[in-house]
Symmetry: C2
Subunit: 233 residues, 2 copies
DNA sequence: CGGAAGATTGATCAGTTTCAAGCTCCGTGG
DNA sequence: CCACGGAGCTTGAAACTGATCAATCTTCCG
């Protein structure tokens, strides 16, 4: 499991992409505007609409950011892992958080105060550029989520996700890395539906599945499902 | 109709929110890195995945940014109007555009070169802050789209959109401001479905509709639909 | 070993899309 | 000035996807 937990505090920042371009002095400046916080599994970190006093960076554990509906349904926007920052939006809009955040496990985060960070950005052009890059990548990701939700049906989303998990380890066994219920909420559906579709994929010999372990048996077939060329019967 | 087309070029920039904080000299600098471009109705401005040499600002007309699927379906992410910038993402990610852009009418835009603008940002902290604010607002918007697509059904999305259009002019007649087919693609559906749902709303006395003109007759009712408290029969 | 949370399965239902046909509006050209 | 033609919009019937509800099974911890 990834974890950011080095001996001295300079090391903390050097393993955070956002701060790559800062020098020692600037990193020390971060110390005075940041604080560690810990969350137990399932704790709320912030709620949609809340005002923010700053933003967060994951040090260890995992955080999910999600939207929830009146009816109790939940759409996960993304999981954040060690090194990822989250909750930046209200720092720059002045409004509230666009979504809620909750820890998925024992989690430790770094909290950075808004004023401090904004000041730091003001005379660190490269920090500003890094943050622009972070937000831009986030926009790209959200666009992809929208594409999934609007233009693809669930088997396609699932297939694409499996191929994403499989990047690099062709054919080998891999881990879903999430409880199936969470995966369902990430794909914009519910556990029952996910279960059924996984079942169909198994029946058609596309994948093998035991617990959270999964193997892609027919990569070409899965790709066809992802693209929409082929359908599950 | 809004239009940005002032006598001298300083004026151009002063009516663009992104450049509010720049002084005269900095605005003159923009001149050397920007160029006007014109598009006729329905012309592609860029395609998803294309590499970018810069980004755009709408001067007059309207631009839609959208995702399209293999099956020919289309999800509009947003419309951009005079003063709005669009297509910034690849400037900061180094990748391609996350979506495609097309003019909705005779449209004139300002194109700003990537290198020039990045250089400008580097020694204009407030320009960087403005851009951070722009991207953050965009993230907020996309989150809202995701919420709509995943957590709400179509009558709810439509009702929310009508209330949005109505902000300020309680009860008066207003304009859809879009062909119904485009509205459908903005709400994540197809013209047939939109037509039926508008029909149901009329039948229930929630709205009156003639062409693109629409009046909200029962604001409370429309709000209930938007929130999900009430359903159309 | 017991119990609770998570996962699967089946039957049913609701919402949305698809396909097909017809209609309306409006600009163009005869 | 009217007729034509086409795009956009509407309407209907049928098909489909995914959600809901309810029951059962599994897993994993305490």
């Amino acid at each position: 499991m990834k974890k950011i937990n080095p001996p001295d505090h300079v090391g903390i920042y050097s393993s955070i992409p956002l701060f790559q371009s800062l020098n020692e002095e600037q990193r020390r400046a971060l110390d005075s505007i940041s604080a560690r916080r810990s969350f137990k599994k399932g704790q709320k970190i912030f709620l949609e609409g809340e005002k923010a006093a700053g933003f967060y960076i994951v040090l260890s554990g995992r955080v999910k950011v999600f939207k929830s509906s009146a009816g109790g349904r939940e759409q996960i926007l993304r999981f954040f892992e060690p090194g990822d920052s989250f909750g930046e939006v209200p720092m720059f809009t002045g409004g509230g958080f666009p979504a809620s955040a909750e820890s998925c496990s024992e989690t430790s985060v770094l909290f950075l105060s808004r004023e401090g960070f904004v000041a730091l950005i003001r005379d660190n052009p490269s920090l500003a550029m890094n943050m622009l890059a972070v937000l831009s990548k986030r926009l790209h990701q959200l666009s992809a989520v929208i594409e999934d939700l609007s233009l693809r049906e669930i088997p396609g989303r699932l297939a694409a996700h499996l191929l994403f998990l499989d990047r690099g380890n062709d054919g080998g066994e891999m881990d879903l890395d999430l409880p199936k219920g969470e995966l369902a909420r990430l794909l914009g559906t519910i556990p029952e539906t996910l279960s059924r579709i996984l079942g169909r994929m198994v029946r058609e010999g596309l994948i093998r599945l035991k617990g959270q372990k999964i193997i892609i048996l027919d990569r070409g077939g899965v790709e066809e499902i992802a693209v929409g060329t082929r359908k599950l019967s």
